[in-house]
Amino acid sequence: MVKYFNCAASLKGTWDQVSQAFWQRYPNPYSNHVLTEDIIFREVTPDNRLISRRLLTKTSRVPRWAEKFLPGHMARKAYIIEDSVVDPQKRTTVSFTWNITHARLMSVQERCVYTVSLDNSNMTEVKREAWISSNLCGFSRAVQEFGLARFKSSVVKTMKGFEYVLARMQGETPTRTLAETATEKARETALAAKEKAKGLASHAQKKQYVAMKTLIPTGLNTSALEP
């Protein structure tokens, strides 16, 4: 089972500007979870499209309680591949991004298409689609829900980061005020607390699950136990 998500948004900037910002996105004040960024393949095709592969290391975005399913040394990191095709004739950029580690636990695949906005050529339209799935027996639905919620909040950060880099490129002072920074911090703290509470709840739930598993024979369909 796969969760599907899509949304569209506009960025203030011509397609050329957004394309340049695409390569200068990191770091920005909203990308603290991005630890490293590398281009590991790049080529211009005979028909003049730029194809690139970017490798990113991000802090692991799995629930606390799910970390126990990960190999210890990798628990806090995930490797992400982002492949992209920039077509300057058609003025379209397509990117496809997915995690290459922890994919059994949670797989997030995202496609973004950047085109010139039809209403205003000074704006760029971003169409985003995502597919989120998990193969974790008995927990897949919980992980998917978690993944979707996390994904939605990360889209907000991605767009804010993009806007920040675009504004900086266009010579404006990015509009991130101190007040906003403070609010953001408060929100993150609240989120962390909520996460912790959820973690505790899931832990309790898992205990119950384990208890039930010991009572019932293995090999049973455990979907009824899913939250």
Binding site: D16, S19, Q20, W23, Q24, Y26, P27, V34, L35, T36, E37, D38, I39, I40, F41, R42, V44, N48, L50, I51, R53, L55, T57, Y79, I81, D83, V85, V86, P88, Q89, F96, W98, I100, T101, Q109, R111, V113, K127, E129, W131
Partner: protein, 74 residues
């Protein structure tokens, strides 16, 4: 931004600078002259590919746009 290879960040920075300039001033304008960043890219790649092997990052055989192929067209 840091490279995944601790020793590659400076090479990456030099390449990025060259690339961003070429991308904005040549590529987007349809200018298909010689790529001035080839040498910098080679140096950077020999560093980062070594780091990827050392860290066992599983990129071998990962097809370009891999999972996109199974998805419906947008």
């Amino acid at each position: 931004m840091n490279s995944v290879g601790e020793g590659c960040t400076e090479l990456k920075r030099e390449y990025d600078q060259c690339f961003n300039r070429w991308f904005a001033e040549k590529f987007l304008k349809g200018d298909r002259g010689e790529d001035p960043c080839t040498e910098l890219f080679k140096k950077y790649q020999s560093c980062v590919q070594k780091a990827i092997k050392e860290k066992d990052i599983p990129i071998d055989g990962v097809e370009f746009m891999g999972p996109n192929k199974e998805k419906p067209a947008s």
